[in-house]
């Protein structure tokens, strides 16, 4: 009987773990891509230190997410891939497809397995996190030229979109909204902790703005 209870709680924990692990994988990937310039303006990240190790690390962490709950992990990752493509929607990429075509094709495959509702709600969840991040990082992103909605659309417009997305998701899937927000906060806190305790001996501190 206690086994069943344990299994029950674990079952409820699984989507949450999927959020945390997928979120970690996404964060490692993003930070790695934005690494060098961000480090220069003091927006330091733990994963910049991983350098080439970022790829296997991100993949492994993502596997843990899939093991916890594949539907959550896969749709969240797809959503961040799709939203991360925002500078390259019209451009022809390595695959010879444009950003749009890549997003639609991969989205169709994934929604065939997990359904369009899971895909849509994950997209909303990642949109919320991204918009929030963009509002916080507006000034730094302006300096380094990073893609940022608050710069592109304006802060008010981004904030309004954020509110709309939050309302929509709280209607469609309040649990996803809650779990994604909790894991987002958890991950950013944890990353900050890793930076302050991990040391950054390999980075020339003279070069980093304090």
């Amino acid at each position: 009987m206690s086994g069943a209870i344990f299994e029950g709680t674990l079952l409820n924990l699984r989507p949450f773990l999927a959020c945390v692990f997928a979120g970690f994988a996404i964060k490692i990937m993003d930070d790695y891509l934005d690494g060098p310039l961000d480090a220069l303006v003091g927006k330091i990240s733990w994963s910049t230190r991983l350098e080439k190790g970022a790829l296997p690390y991100a993949l492994m962490v993502f596997c843990l997410g899939v093991a916890a709950d594949d539907g959550w992990a896969v749709t969240l990752f797809w959503a961040s891939y799709a939203l991360g493509m925002r500078g390259d929607l019209q451009r022809s990429l390595l695959s010879r497809l444009t950003g749009w075509q890549e997003i639609v094709l991969t989205g169709l495959c994934i929604s065939a397995v997990y359904g369009s509702r899971a895909l849509g709600t994950s997209w909303l969840a990642v949109f919320i996190v991204q918009a929030w991040d963009d509002l916080l990082d507006k000034d730094i992103d302006k300096l380094t030229g990073a893609h940022n909605w608050a710069i592109q659309w304006g802060s008010t417009e981004t904030a309004i979109s954020l509110v709309i997305a939050v309302s929509l998701l709280s209607l469609l899937h309040p649990v996803k909204l809650l779990l994604v927000l909790i894991s987002y906060i958890l991950i950013t806190r944890l990353m900050r902790l890793l930076i302050s305790t991990g040391g950054r001996a390999d980075v020339d501190t003279d070069i980093v703005v304090s």
């Binding site: 891509l33 310039l37 451009r91 990429l93 390595l94 300096l143 380094t144 030229g145 990073a146």
Partner: protein
């Protein structure tokens, strides 16, 4: 084709940067289009080492007119093409030679339409003699103009020299609110950051 314009006083290392950055991005032969201050255009093919030898020097105004070449930038998702425009250096006041004056007018005209403006400052000499001596009125004007638009960054060059770190700190103090990337055009350091910056703006 989007343009990345190099601007700054003479002898800060614009031409060395242009050639070595091309090398860093995997270009082995340069098809350089020269535009004289009078507007005549001709093209020459040069290897990187020949270009370094012929086009750079420590005498001012070695580059008169514009030197342009195309670069295909390899990135995470495909490639982007752009043109690097190496300009003649800016000097204080009005130069007595008409040819030099024309070259400067030409430089400023490029800046208006550029997608990326990289403003080079010699951090080595800033470290040695201070910002006021090493950086001229022109640099302030360029920074002020650049700060109002997208794609403007300062490259603190010659970081390999003694005192350049001191120079970098002073440049940071005196040009607040700008992105400042420390580089050594000679040793090709800091180029990853510059590449990422250029990529984001073209």
């Amino acid at each position: 084709m989007k343009q990345c314009v190099l601007i700054g006083k003479t002898n800060v290392g614009k031409t060395v940067f242009a050639i070595n950055f091309a090398d860093f991005l995997g270009v082995s032969k340069l098809a350089i289009e020269f535009t004289t201050p009078n507007g005549e255009i001709y093209e020459r093919n040069l290897s990187l080492s020949d270009a370094l030898q012929e086009l750079t020097s420590d005498t001012p105004h070695h580059t008169l007119g514009l030197q342009k070449f195309q670069i295909s930038l390899p990135g995470l998702k495909g490639r982007k093409r752009f043109t690097i425009v190496d300009t003649s250096g800016l000097t204080e006041g009005i130069h007595r030679e008409a040819f030099v004056r024309k070259a400067m007018a030409q430089t400023l005209a490029q800046v208006r339409t550029a997608a990326v403006i990289l403003h080079l400052i010699d951090a080595g000499s800033v470290g040695k003699v201070g910002v006021l001596e090493a950086v001229g009125e022109v640099d302030w004007q360029v920074a002020q103009f650049g700060g109002m638009r997208r794609g403007y960054a300062i490259l603190a060059n010659k970081m390999d020299l003694m005192g350049a770190k001191q120079g970098l700190l002073k440049i940071r103090q005196d040009f607040p609110g700008h992105l400042i990337i420390p580089i050594s055009a000679l040793n090709k350091t800091g180029f990853t950051e510059v590449k990422q910056y250029v990529w984001r703006h073209i």
